[in-house]
């Protein structure tokens, strides 16, 4: 099936009673269900250890559920072959909590990684990558290696890498955890801009309740392995930081 073959009213991401258990231990997720519509912006909140990162890993296909069904762009991911899954992953931009930058590549090369994987020639994306890095405040650090970047700079490189292909779905795990308030606001505007202008669906796991309140977006709360819908309003309690 071609990459863009999904209907506009089809949920971008759907969890149907998804469960995940490691070995004989307790459930990490139990009976979690959620639906993300195209063009929606959703925050995932919950206490530390509630399984937010695990839920995101399931969403960006880093883990297989032990129960239930996950659909992406209308396709049941449990029935897809590796090449089809790779095509789905190219439509998802992921901001990993631990950044996962490649140490031997420069900031520019790390951001360009998804484009290289797609087989795009360097000349075709040079301007976009350079502009994007400038936009996140790293225009003068194009050739810097991750080991020379601060935590916040690494995070911005990771975010630039996630959005560089203008994906249909952005999944971000604590994307503003290591940046100051001003940069946090700026990054949020980047997500919002992609969401509004390109109709990109955005799912962000965060403890940053200020950002959640500013966004006036859908809020899902994960507790006891289950997802419950909440509302973004000032009355929401601040979650315990990770």
């Amino acid at each position: 099936m071609p990459d863009n073959a999904f209907l506009s009213d089809e949920p971008v991401l759907r969890f149907d009673r998804v469960g995940l258990t490691y070995g004989p231990g307790a459930d990490i997720l139990a009976d979690a269900s959620l639906t993300l519509r195209p063009g929606s912006m959703t925050f995932l909140t919950g206490p530390s250890g509630a399984g937010k990162s695990t839920l995101l890993k399931l969403a960006f296909l880093a883990l297989r559920p032990t129960a239930g069904r996950i659909s992406l762009f209308g396709l049941d991911t449990g029935r897809l072959k590796p090449d089809a899954l790779a095509s789905l992953r190219r439509r998802i931009g992921v901001v990993f909590q631990e950044f996962r930058l490649l140490d031997h590549l420069s900031a520019y090369e790390n951001v360009a990684l998804p484009l290289r994987v797609m087989g795009r020639p360097e000349a075709s994306y040079r301007k976009d990558v350079t502009e994007l890095l400038s936009w996140v405040g790293l225009g003068d650090r194009l050739d810097a290696r991750p080991e020379t970047l601060s935590g916040g700079e690494k995070q911005r490189v990771a975010i630039a890498r996630a959005v560089v292909v203008k994906p249909d779905l952005i999944i971000a795990d604590e994307p503003t955890g290591n940046v100051d308030e001003e940069m946090s606001e700026r990054l949020f505007r980047l997500f919002r801009e992609l969401n509004k202008r390109l109709n990109t669906t955005v799912l962000i796991a965060t403890h940053d309740m200020a950002m959640v309140r500013r966004a006036n977006a859908d809020v899902l709360r994960l507790a006891d392995g289950m997802v419950v819908r909440a509302q973004a309003q000032p009355a929401l309690q601040q979650d315990t930081p990770a």
């Binding site: 296909l61 990684l113 360097e122």
Partner: protein, 289 residues
């Protein structure tokens, strides 16, 4: 103008240096064993061809009997040439044991006839024995069959041992290269995972590692083969400078077959490394979603 992009896999690290050394050493041993094995077979062929076709007839009688025996030998089908050895020949033969001072005049010497069988002739020794017996001459025919058979058996055994060593080294090499490649790749699992999650197809990821380890195997194998060539050339030089006959060695040389052994070693090392990389990466990817 395009920016120069760093390869998606880091160029090399200490683990790859260790793998390079292992592949290089194994290729050296395998190629060198291959050369020794081929030399052993060549030596076996040279030794046996030197003695095959040579016959010696010892006549227990006087000069007249020797003359009669020589005539019979020369007339026997399959004999290309024959001549009676005179006293000077006998002295030369006995010199290593009796010294250069000469042989006492009264020392009885055997009457010998040296004959050479025509190329491809068979059963000459038996025919000669029968003809001499029919002429009622007291003779002993030595066609060196027993000696050459012993020599062939000995050299065959040496060749077999060398071949076994090559096979053992080859199998060990394949296993070690596969193991070392696997270990090196495990250290790169983070890159494999990231590429996977970024949407790289399995063939794309495997291809990166295959190309890297093919080059590593070929380069390390080439260096190992060059060392083997150097060692073989040194031994060849030493043998030629020394007394080859004293070592019972025939004239040795590097042949096309040796070139084939040296040329194939790096290719096999490269192919094994590449295959090991592919299997490891694909197995690692199959564990992922």
């Amino acid at each position: 103008m395009s920016r120069h992009l760093a390869p998606l896999l880091p160029k090399e690290d200490a683990r790859e240096a260790a793998l390079f050394f292992v592949v290089c050493a194994l290729c050296f041993l395998a190629a060198f064993s291959g050369l020794v094995s081929r030399a052993a077979y060549a030596a076996a062929g040279a030794w046996t061809s030197e003695v095959t076709g040579q016959l010696t007839v010892r006549v227990r009688g006087d000069a007249a009997d020797t003359e009669r025996a020589l005539a019979i030998v020369q007339a026997t089908p399959g004999i290309a040439s024959a001549r009676a050895l005179d006293r000077a020949d006998a002295e030369e033969l006995l010199q290593p044991w009796l010294g250069a001072g000469g042989i006492p005049a009264d020392l009885p010497l055997p009457h010998l006839i040296a004959a050479e069988a025509a190329p491809g002739a068979t059963g000459v020794g038996d025919r000669l024995t029968a003809a001499l017996q029919q002429a009622e001459l007291k003779t002993t025919v030595d066609d060196h069959v027993v000696w050459s058979a012993d020599a062939r058996r000995a050299t065959d055994t040496i060749g077999l041992i060398a071949l076994s060593a090559v096979a053992l080294l080859g199998a060990t090499g394949i296993a070690v290269i596969a193991f070392a490649t696997h270990a090196t790749l495990l250290a790169r699992k983070d890159i494999v995972e990231l590429l996977h999650l970024t949407g790289a197809r399995n063939s794309f990821i495997a291809g990166l590692f295959e190309r890297r380890f093919l080059m590593l195997g070929v380069q390390a194998g080439t260096l190992g083969a060059l060392f083997a060539f150097g060692a073989a050339a040194f031994i060849l030089f030493a043998v030629r400078q020394g007394d080859a006959q004293a070592w019972l060695l025939p004239q040795l040389s590097l042949s096309l077959a040796d070139g084939l052994i040296l040329g194939l070693s790096p290719l096999i090392a490269g192919a094994v490394s590449m295959l090991a990389a592919k299997v490891t990466v694909m197995r690692s990817l199959s564990d992922m979603v």
